[in-house]
């Protein structure tokens, strides 16, 4: 029973960190570099998950002061189809395909854009370092396949942050340390640190007057606590995550763009239902606790997400093998 519990917990942790969240308004549909992980096991080498993250971007902040009378509001809905495949005990591959819907609304106009974002192919290495602690090293590459040339109703290309793709090759690296049964039996803790390198789109608008644009480099660190509650037929796991994210200013024409970049401290609360070995469902809500931004920016005031994950086995399961033995 203990082995099963640890096993399920591990599955849960990997799933919980597997939601590719849409960025705030300032980085288009590019996924956050936090919250990536391949989640496969020996028994279930393939995992397919669908995730949806809603982000309300409706807070006008100047440095750390929230301003009133903002005529703008925005939201984005970041949907993600994700595949992960186990290559080896310590290695796995993952592929995320996002589909993004964004809306920007002011007192006089509503503009929308939607489409496939940039897919991310990743490689994960989880070396066995300790019986008590698990380590995950993740490296991913984002392909510039999403559209960055979506236009508004009068034929003008929308700004970079309203596009589904960035038109750039970007790189994501992540380290996560998971400590199950931290201090007490039902408590697990995970620390994660990630970095995303964004390259430059040198001809964003495909025009003679070429517009060069680069989203700011991003660091993200988080501390996640989860507590397991066992019921008769399922496991419920509430969690609390503290996230600190900081991002450099964007670059326009190879120089730092004003009113971009800053520091965000967010808190998120979630609940996972482990329905079976193969099926997991998770929901979460989050909101900023503190933001210190460069200049004036409209930024996230609320986010929520839901994800469903199903694992698939290709061959004999571990239990089948035991029976054979």
């Amino acid at each position: 029973m203990e082995i099963v519990r640890i096993y399920i917990t591990l599955i849960f942790v990997l799933v919980i960190t597997n939601i590719n969240q849409a960025q705030t308004c300032c980085t288009a549909g590019a996924p956050l570099s936090n919250n990536f992980s391949n989640n496969t096991t020996e028994i279930y080498p393939l995992e397919i998950s669908v995730q949806s993250t809603f982000r309300s971007i409706n807070r006008l902040v100047e440095n750390d002061e929230v301003l009133v009378n903002d005529p703008r509001s925005r939201f984005n809905l970041h949907n993600n189809l994700r595949f992960a495949y186990r290559l080896h005990d310590f290695f796995s591959l993952g592929l995320s395909v996002p589909y993004i819907f964004q809306q920007r609304e002011t007192i006089s106009m509503r503009e929308e854009s939607f489409g496939f974002g940039d897919p991310v192919l990743n490689f994960q290495f989880s070396p066995p370092i300790s019986k008590k602690i698990d380590l995950y090293l993740f490296s991913g590459i984002k392909f510039p396949l999403g559209s960055y040339q979506k236009t508004n109703a009068i034929g003008i290309q929308l700004s970079p942050d309203m596009q589904s793709g960035t038109g750039t090759w970007d790189f994501i690296n992540r380290l996560a340390i998971f400590h199950p049964r931290f201090l007490i039996n039902n408590l697990n803790v995970q620390y994660a640190l990630s970095y995303r390198y964004n390259s430059t789109n040198k001809n964003f608008n495909n025009s003679i007057a070429a517009r060069s644009f680069q989203f700011g480099q991003e660091w993200n660190t988080s501390l996640l606590f989860q507590y397991e509650l066992f019921s008769k037929n399922s496991i419920w796991v509430p969690d609390l995550e503290l996230q600190y994210r900081w991002q450099d200013a964007n670059n326009e024409q190879n120089l730092e763009a004003p009113n971009s970049g800053g520091h965000w401290f967010n808190i998120k609360a979630g609940l996972t239902a482990i329905l079976s070995e193969q099926n997991l469902l998770r929901i979460y809500v989050g909101m900023p606790v503190f933001q210190s931004l460069e200049g004036l920016q409209i930024t996230t005031n609320f986010e929520s997400g839901i994800s469903y994950s199903r694992k698939i086995k290709f061959k004999q399961s571990l239990s089948d093998k035991i029976e054979v033995l």
Partner: protein, 339 residues
Amino acid sequence: MRNIIPIIILSSIVFLYSCKNKGQENIWSIPSDEVLDGGPGQDGIPSVDNPEFSSVDQIDFMEEEELISGVLINDKAKGYPHGILNWHEVVNDDFENTNLAMTYCPLTGTAIVWDRSVNGSVTEFGVSGLLYNTNLIAYDRNTESNWSQIQGACVNGELIDQRIETHPVIETTWSTWKKLFPDAQVMNTNTGFSRNYDRYPYGDYIENHDYIIFPLNPEDNSLPSKERVFGVIGEQTKVYPLSDFGLGKIIYDQNRIIIGSQEDNFCIAFENDLGLNNLEFSFSNGPIIASSNDGTIQLDIYGNISGGTFDGQRLTHANAFTGYWLAFGSFFPDVEIYE
């Protein structure tokens, strides 16, 4: 079957009509691939539609060297501080029975006053969130047409190619403004929006000549990009760097009189229809901006002449405004620089 045919015909008409309208929306008189979405969206930068004003001596939020732009109508002036305009870009206002919009683009440093009477009706202007050659495109709220600030023309929408009427504008520092227009009303910070008007929202944009946020076509590097110049618009647009005016200077050029001062940080231009170039004027510091050497003839900032042969006559303001060189270099490729 008979019932279907009219439905198909009707649907086709509706479809074709919708395509026609769609086409009109997408027509631009400027290269649409050089019109850029700045990010905030239409009205994301809110215009001020109910501005409030105070007298000069009640204004306490401006530093002496801060810039202010003013409209000149009927021998009166009204001021709009750049510290406010940086955040709103358009102020819809009424002054001397004129419906006007003070438009200001922080990226080109250009303040131009538009008449809000367009096509026989009064409209309001708002900030479209779009830029052409890094310059403001405003839109009118009656027709949703888009207007290029520096071109002074509608570039997209129902009123495409229509030109806008402008009013004389002056830009100077707060210290000079107080000398020139001690009785003028000045817009105060009661805009209805909470913004930090003490802060310039574009970092070191003004000082950094290499920093151009949105691309220009063409980009002319004849002068440093942010050098403030006074541009007189015409068949041959010509710019006069403010730095050339020193303590005060009067230039007779192209049948115009350009009067300015680097020290006082302003410049103004008049059409010289009266042939004043035969007179010996010198710069004067104050509401009277030029006077004859013997002091008998004077010219004020509104163009009024007192004394001499032309006593009681008036010079009309030329179509001119101050801005960063980058704007004139890109909008007027054949622009001349006065030397």
